[in-house]
Amino acid sequence: MTLKLTDVTVRRGIGPVISDVNLEIVPGEVTTLVGPNGAGKTSLLESLSGVIAVSRGSVEMDGADLTKMSRRRRARAGLAHVEQGRMIFPSLTVRENLQLTARTGADLDEALALFPELEKRMASVSGLLSGGEQQMVVLARAFAAKPKYLLLDEMSLGLAPVVFLRLIPIIQQIAQDGAGVLLVEQFAHLALNIASDAMVITGGRVSYHGPAKTLLDDEGRLRSAYMG
């Protein structure tokens, strides 16, 4: 029971933006996708959640063909996609944001337990929160849904390192609770530290796929992937 990508290629406009990805997300583990910026990593996540289509290849979630399912069905089947850019519902309060995905009051309380800072902001309109707080709301909302697979797209974007460090153990916790996490990050070190499996995307192609630890220890390889 995994989220399995086989030879996946995603196109934007006329050209492919990421090609020939073979990846398996295992429940309970964190897989990370790193690499310099270019639309490829985000497009891959979007093709998994159904925002855009997969041009070639297949995606199977727990044996079912994901590409045949609507976005809503994929979400209901246990796939949670936390998009880039802190996609809170700005006119809703923090509590309302969480109520959208928590199936029971207990789920909501569990989500809140991970983010005690949100406790005093429950009645605040989420559009007025700081960037870090908004990112917490988004993550709490995803967690409250008790997903089987969690896709996280560039959570660190625009966040101070201190804030992002705060979120790292929570991601680990989510994985420990049984979800398979696919973490897309441009900030490689932090992501590699909590991942078991790592993939580096350079120029739309997979340039490394293997244990995260190996990459962490090989500074030169990582640097060349980023700085050229």
């Binding site: 959640s49 159904g50 925002v51 976005r71 809503r72 979400a75 209901r76 949670a80 996609h81 998009e83 996609m87 519902f89 700005p90 006119s91 809703l92 309302e96 109520q99 959208l100 995905t101 909302r141 849904a145």
Partner: protein, 287 residues
């Protein structure tokens, strides 16, 4: 006194404008559409329902039929837009409602002819009278309908899980889909709701505004003026705007010399509010 009398007489129309305005605001905020066919749908439903009068259906039954037809027909249009234009701009989606307006108006003419329709009088007679000033029961009924609509909508939107989902959809449709909200069904539900409300309002108002389909459908314009006063976002302002509009139009009937100007009041109000609302130049990311 005559002036105040004329003002009071305009309240009925104002109430109707307010109902239309609130419906338009709901549609605009929840389904990203300026629904040009809003009134036409209600008119079609109300006119179709009275076909059942000779069959001995009681008045409340007629209204029920109108509600069902209004909901169904509006939902059909909503389904078309939600299925084929889910991510299109508001302008593209609204353009479909223009075609919808043409469609329902033509079908109304076809089925019911061009002569005025005798709608079942549901509420008639004066409520209060002070000399020349008469406030009819109908005026009050329509104003109450508009207020009730706004209050119920507000309550549902702020206090129920359904309302939270609807507001989430209007904030960020894709993000709502990604957390499993059934965007399509909910949006079609909003279409059905406003369709039923319009059918109800037209059933009430039909007699006092007695006319054929074309004249009834023209009501979309003062209704849109009322909604514009609320910037297509605020129901309370739409209600006030609608009543004010009806009042001003009524007032002007007491001054026969500006007979021609009366027809241009809604437009002038629309223009004033457009000029006011675009004082500051704002670029949104999408354009």
């Amino acid at each position: 006194m005559a002036i105040i009398g004329a003002l009071a007489a305009g309240l009925g129309a104002g109430g109707l404008y307010a109902v239309i305005g609130v419906c338009l605001v709901l549609m605009a905020t929840l389904t990203r559409v300026i629904n040009f066919s809003q009134v036409a749908v209600g008119v079609y439903a109300a006119f179709l329902a009275i076909r059942f009068v000779p069959l001995g259906v009681p008045p409340w039954g007629i209204v029920l039929i109108a509600l069902i037809v209004g909901a169904a027909v509006s939902a059909l249009l909503g389904w078309i837009i939600a299925t084929w234009l889910p991510e299109a701009t508001g302008t593209a989606r609204s353009a479909v409602t223009v075609a919808g307006l043409l469609f329902f108006l033509s079908v109304s003419y076809l089925q019911f002819g061009t002569r005025p329709q005798a709608l079942v009088p549901l509420v008639s007679g004066p409520l209060v009278s002070f000399g020349v000033v008469t406030i009819t029961k109908l005026s009050l009924a329509l104003i109450l309908l508009a207020v009730a609509l706004a209050v119920v909508s507000k309550l549902v939107l702020t206090k129920t899980p359904l309302g939270v989902q609807l507001r989430a959809i209007s904030d960020r449709q894709t993000a709502a889909e990604l957390i499993g909200i059934n965007v399509k069904v909910l949006q079609i539900g909003v279409w059905a709701f406003t369709g039923a409300v319009m059918a109800l309002a037209i059933s009430f108002a039909g007699n006092s505004q007695a006319a054929n389909a074309g004249v009834m459908v023209n009501l979309i314009i003062p209704g849109a003026a009322a909604a514009l006063i609320g910037a297509f976002k605020r129901m309370d302002l739409a209600i006030i705007g609608g009543i004010l509009l009806g009042g001003i139009q009524g007032l002007l009937t007491a001054i026969p010399s500006i007979n021609l100007l009366r027809d241009w009041i809604p437009i002038i109000i629309i223009v004033i509010f457009l000029l006011w609302s675009q004082r500051k130049e704002v670029w949104d990311v999408a354009r």
